[in-house]
Symmetry: C2
């Protein structure tokens, strides 16, 4: 271990934080500042220059890209005879906000995230906060240790132990059944109805509304009825925050 990392772990004023982080990550971070930034939500960030804040949003942008690349290669090699449509779908399942939120919680990132405590009353906000921090952490690891290290960290420490890829393969992200189950569970009535397109419209599209207890909670439009219904259900799940509670 280089001296800088020994210093971080045993000598610096951050040593307790660094040890906690090392326990969670399985390696000792070099540039601690980056990791602190990865776990800092914009609600507690301060402006550093030209209106830029020291929150985790920029690292999230970077980490999202690195994660996408690592997962793309994993799937490319794991499924040598599947087409790019399948690979794309599998990747979105793995990097979905729901999945990243769960991973973030499993790994204990919730103990490291700094955010304005008043946000606790918004469980949905807090939900995406976990996944956002997950991506930001990947950005921090990448800047601190490089691509190959980050790839191995993701594959060996996170994906292999925590993500059941073959289960995800057979799990259909079916928003319609999720919405229906949620309504049954909460004693609500759910309906889908086709509505007219805007008058005079020549584009051949279907508009489907999802109604919960008679109230429109999602609208989907597509070139076929089934897809429009799917979109309406997805929109409804988003509006009703059904994804976040799974």
């Amino acid at each position: 271990m280089p001296f800088s990392r020994i210093y971080n772990k045993y000598i610096s004023s951050d040593r307790f934080y660094v040890r906690k982080l090392s326990n969670i990550l399985g390696f000792t971070p070099g540039n601690v500042r980056l990791y602190k930034m990865a776990f800092r939500h914009k609600s507690v960030a301060v402006t550093i220059k030209d209106g830029a804040k020291n929150s985790n949003e920029r690292l999230e942008f970077l980490g999202d890209a690195v994660l996408g690349s690592v997962v793309a290669e994993l799937l490319f090699k794991l499924y040598p005879y599947k087409d790019e449509g399948f690979l794309t779908e599998m990747r979105s399942k793995i990097v979905s906000r729901v999945n990243l939120n769960q991973l973030s919680r499993k790994l204990g990132f919730n103990e490291l995230i700094e955010y304005d405590a008043r946000m606790i009353s918004f469980p949905n906000k807090q939900g995406s906060l976990l996944g956002d921090a997950f991506e930001a952490l990947i950005g921090a690891v990448y800047l601190d240790r490089g691509y190959v290290f980050t790839k191995n960290f993701l594959l060996n420490r996170i994906i292999k132990p925590h993500v059941d890829i073959h289960l995800l393969e057979i799990t259909e992200t079916n928003f319609k059944s999720r919405l229906i189950e949620w309504c049954q569970h909460n004693g609500k009535d759910v309906q889908f109805q086709q509505v007219d397109n805007p008058e005079g419209e020549s584009v051949k599209m279907f508009s489907i509304e999802a109604l919960v207890d008679g109230k429109v909670v999602g609208l989907g439009r597509d070139f076929n009825k089934k897809s429009a219904e799917k979109l309406a259900a997805e929109k409804a799940c988003e509006n009703l925050k059904i994804l976040e509670v799974l």
Copy 2:
């Protein structure tokens, strides 16, 4: 240079292809099979196993991800005080199909791409074919030489000499003005009109249609009028293939 690459360049039956490729890329490829696949459009691909084809689509999936990651890091470091919204927008400009098509042509990839000659009559198809091959090539370079090599290749051989990032920064991808210019150039009349939303819809959205010579060529829906118009113009540009001819 390892023997395998010397063999590829001077001895193998592919040596003329390899030399041509080396001249274009600036390095000698190791696994030639990968590069051939990167330049093989699905129109000339054959089924290899379980319905999978030896076309460039899977490599395109991988290359798109690697490219996204390299460009993300470049922008992250180039603009230390810009927020993630700016970074995201800049990245989509750099990796836009129009830009990748142009890069692909500049680099001479059009001489390497194998595709069904009957496709020449569809200039739009041929357009995206160039950008697709560009991404697939990045996938091939990544599998052949690894992340750091691919990153340096992209930055030094492609982005620095051929992409004017600061010009892209000030260029707004304005679909509305593109559509209007195209219509003026082609002696066509263009209009935007707001249309009614589907009846009984409680979601507060605006529907705007783009009409060229009285025919609906794009529909945009959003929560404000301006964005809906922008979406309608974008859709119209897509439908009229206006992007591809720039």
